[in-house]
Every structure is written in C-alpha cells, then in structure tokens.
Symmetry: none
Subunit: 281 residues, 2 copies
DNA sequence: GGCAATATGAAATAATAATTCCAATCGATA
DNA sequence: TATCGATTGGAATTATTATTTCATATTGCC
C-alpha cells in the first residue's frame, strides 16, 4: 500500500505523536486512545474499540489508513506484535538484548548493552543480597550521629545520590569529596558514634582505601559496598556487601549498587522514625 | 458448558496436564501445542492455529469443549487474559511492593522495591528509546569541542558519571557544578561549537533550567534527558529524550537514565574514533 | 454568509472466521 | 474378523467482524 508504514510499535508511537497536531478531532481521539490503551487495540474488535473510544468503527479504519496501513487489521498486528515481544520472559529478553549488543549492530547495540548489563546486575543482586548483613548495616547506620559517605571516581555517583537522599530524609551526613583538599580534616571529625558508607570497586581508588583505613582506625564503623571478599575495603568494614556489577564497553553498571544504596538509605530513615529521634516516642 | 470451567491460565494449564493421558491423539496434539505456544492461541484464528498444530479446526473446537468451554472463542479469552496480565505484571508487582513497604513489611521489601523500580524503568526505556533521536544526539555530541554536563540534585549522580566516562574516553568535558559559585563564568565560555548534555526531572531544579536557557541563547546545542514533553528543558533542547523512571519511597530510580547516559557517552566516543579525531583518518 | 473541501456517522456489504454436521476412519472387544 | 463406539477430516453453514459507501455535518476560506 503506502511507502513507509510503521512496522513496530515504537515507530508507530512516534509517528502518531508527530502528527498528533494535524489530525482531525475524531481521529486524534482514537489516536490518544490507542496510545493509552494499547492492549485494547491488540485484543478488541473494531466495533468494541470504537465504542470504548467513543467513535465509529469507520473512524478507526480511517485512522489506520491515515497511518499508511490498509486497514484496521494490519494496524492491529503491530499492537499484537508488541504484546508478544513484551511478554517474552525476562530472561529471554535479556538474552536477546545481549545477543543484539554482541553482534554489534550500531549504536542501538551499545544502548542495549548497557540496558542488559544493568538488568543482569539487578537480577543478580536480588538473588544474592544477604539479609542479615542488610539488617546489620541498617542498625549500624541508624544509630550514627553523622553518616559519612566515601567514594571516588566511578563509585562517586552513588555516593552523591546517597548524600542527596540522606539530606532529603533529614539525616545528617557528610560527603567526603576533595574539592578543596580538606578530606583529611573532614575525616578527623568522625567519631565512633558516627558511621561510614564506603563504596569502591576494583581497581580500588587508592584514596578511598586510605581514607577508609584512617577512619576505621578512629573507631568509626564502616559499611562497605564492594565487589569481592578480597577487596581491601572489606577488611576495614564492620559490614560489607558484595555487589557484582556487569560491565559493558568497559563501564560498569551502577544499577545494583544504586538500588542497594537507596534501600539502605530509606531503610535507615524508616528505622529512625520507628525508634524515634528522641529515644522511644 | 461444564460446571467448572478454568477461568485463568494457570488452572487451565493444570487441568490440561492432568488429563493429558486420557485425551485422544489429535486432541492431545492440540493440547501440547497450546501449552507450548500460548501466544499463538491468543492471537491466531482457529484455522491458522489448527494448521500450525497440524489438525483440523474442528478438532480445536472439540478440544475447547472437552475442557468445558463452549467453543474456541471462550478458550482463547483465557489465553488473551494471560497476556494482558503478564504484561502489566511489572507495574502491579511494583504497586504490591510499594504497598508492602508502606505497611512496614520489613526492610527487605524496601530493597525489593528499589530493584523492581529499576527493572521497570529499564524495561520501559528499552521499549521506548527513539533511535532517530539517539543518532541525532550522538552526531551532535560527537562534533562538539567541549561537552558541558549540566544537572543538579537528584540528576547530579548521572552527570558525574557522564563526566567520569567522558574523561576516561579522553573527550573534553566540563561538569557544571557550583562548588565555588562560578557556574555563570563557566557557562559563558561555551560556544556554538560545543554541546551540552542537560538532565532534569520534575520538579525541575530552577538552576538547571535557567542555566540551560542561558547556554542555549548562546547558541550552544543542547541534548536533554528529561521526563516529559512538557518539561521546560525540552524547549531549549535540539534533541531530547523522554525517560520515565519509576520511583519508590519517593526516590526515583536512575537506572534508565544511567543506561541512556552511558550509551550516549560510549557511542560518542566510538563515533569520534570512526570519524577520526584528526578530520578523516 | 456562502461555497468547497474535509470529516463524521450510520447502515449496507463483503470478507473472514467459528461452528456444525456428516461421512469416513480407527480401535477396542467379543 | 466383524461390530460398535469413539475419533477424525472436510466441507457446509452460520456468526461475527472488517470494510465500504453514501448521506450528513463541520470546518476553513473567500
């Protein structure tokens, strides 16, 4: 029929959004309905969909034709295909992504690779998280006066999000970053009544390790997020988590670490609320 | 027209497996096919399914009737319902986790919630990424002399990871952060030969928007990562991405944004290598 | 305000698909 | 091996559903 008919849902979606302005009223109505209720389009009959959207079946067909399909039926195929793909199990999806990324099909493959790496890491951590360690870490951090957050380089984004979240939750915290080279001084203020969250992955930033050493010698308890039991961070930590992040193109995903970090932060906030800032409510 | 007709897929599945032995040959053949290719049953017509399974349409109907349905159509409904539910299961799972976490069902629920939020976001973006925008953004960034990275508050972690990655790839970049309040000066150095990656989600940090405005007025092209077409960032951007991050306990996941950011960064690095840093290799 | 072009509604029609029916085949049992 | 009941294949029938058509309404333009 037409020249460039959208064959996959995403293209279709984009096309619809682009033309949204220039569509006649009823057609626009159906367009909006289609994007809002894609499942109904996939399963319904022309009559039932038209009724739900408040238009005539013929309008539905005109809508399809305007997009270049030769009828409602071919339009519906796209919506069905979408469901099929979406529905393929999580693992299959992941495998497909990896395969696509590996065969190196252009820039899209790079994107797929990062998504796959992130998904893998999340899958992984959700199986492996040690709940006892998790509870211990929460308890330790919940009773700290100030939580120090320590991470450099590739782990720094996690630290900055932790600091942001702690601030939002009104939990006193100090991000140890070296803008002015005053880290040593900041660290020297930490006392055993405080606590540290330290994050470092191989190759461990020497500064992180060194600072962790110093601070642990001051008797400040450390919760570490790192990548193996051989990590130099682990030896200084009261509690530590092993997080295996998949990497792609030389860059490690941070999804699992982020999820763990956020969970820790929010759980600490909750525990403090329960225990009561003022020792028992 | 039986008494206990299986209404959901799982019951149906069990019923089929139970009776498998006692079914006549062709009916068993269709039964096996149905369990192996549930998607085909959901979408196909009686004729097409029968053909794929190697039986007659009438057999398909007999199969349905034997299970207590009054015809193929009602059997098919169960298979369709399954697809619908499966499809929404991510969101539902997330909703369930949220509810669980709210009623205080332990810290593990919080962790699961963050993992689910991250997975949902990744799934979502992998379906929705607009490849044309993606290519356009890469092209735009690849020819920039310096890439400025602009993001505050909750988006800042992403910016810092982008800056880290760009640095690793030896791509000149400048993170616009206000440690010393010199942002305005830093921004004033940007020229139309440069480019900006700006990231902001609702509620948009006013500083980000303002700086994006200023920098776009200097003619510097902006690639924006934001959350909707109504975002104030979108109007200043040459290319923008809509990323819908699920949130949990008030904190937005960053997984999808991170994956996109990393993909952009690495793709830019790759494009530069191909095009040749020194104008054609 | 009148005219043409476009859009919409409703019903008729065509296409497609589900179901039924009947004859043919198969399989167990005496 | 003959016979009865169950099973199957294939075509006829019926139902449902998409599509077309045409009259009517709406919109934009002069």
């Amino acid at each position: 029929m037409d020249e460039r008919v959208p064959r996959d849902f995403e293209t279709l979606r984009t096309t619809i959004l682009e033309r949204r302005q220039s569509l006649p009223k009823r057609i626009a109505q159906i367009a909006a309905y289609a994007l809002d209720n894609p499942d109904d389009i996939a399963f319904g009959t022309a009559a039932s969909i038209a009724a739900s959207a408040g238009v005539q079946p013929s309008t539905l067909i005109r809508f399809a034709q305007q997009l270049g399909f030769d009828g409602f039926t071919s339009l519906q195929l796209v919506f069905r295909e979408r469901l099929r793909e979406r529905n393929s199990s999580y693992d299959e999806r992941l495998a497909a992504l990896r395969a696509k990324a590996e065969e190196g099909a252009g820039h899209r493959a790079i994107f797929d690779g990062f998504v796959a790496a992130a998904s893998t890491s999340l899958n992984d951590i959700s199986d492996r998280l040690n709940e006892d360690h998790f509870e211990a870490a929460i308890a330790l951090l919940a009773k700290a006066e100030t939580i120090y957050v320590l991470a450099k380089r590739r782990s720094y984004p996690v630290a900055s999000y932790i600091a942001y979240a702690l601030g939002k939750l009104k939990i006193r915290n100090q991000l140890i970053e070296s803008a002015a080279g005053l880290n040593a001084e900041i660290i020297s203020f930490a006392s055993p009544r405080d606590a540290v969250i330290a994050i470092s992955f191989s190759p461990y930033a020497p500064a992180t390790i060194e600072e962790a050493r110093v601070i642990s010698e001051q008797g400040v308890p450390i919760v570490a997020i790192t990548d193996s039991s051989f990590s130099p961070l682990a030896q200084f930590a009261k509690v530590w988590f092993e997080v295996a992040e998949a990497d792609f193109a030389g860059f490690r995903s941070l999804s699992a670490t982020m999820a763990l970090a956020m969970a820790l932060t929010v759980a600490v906030g909750e525990k403090r609320r329960d225990t009561g800032g003022k020792r028992k409510a």
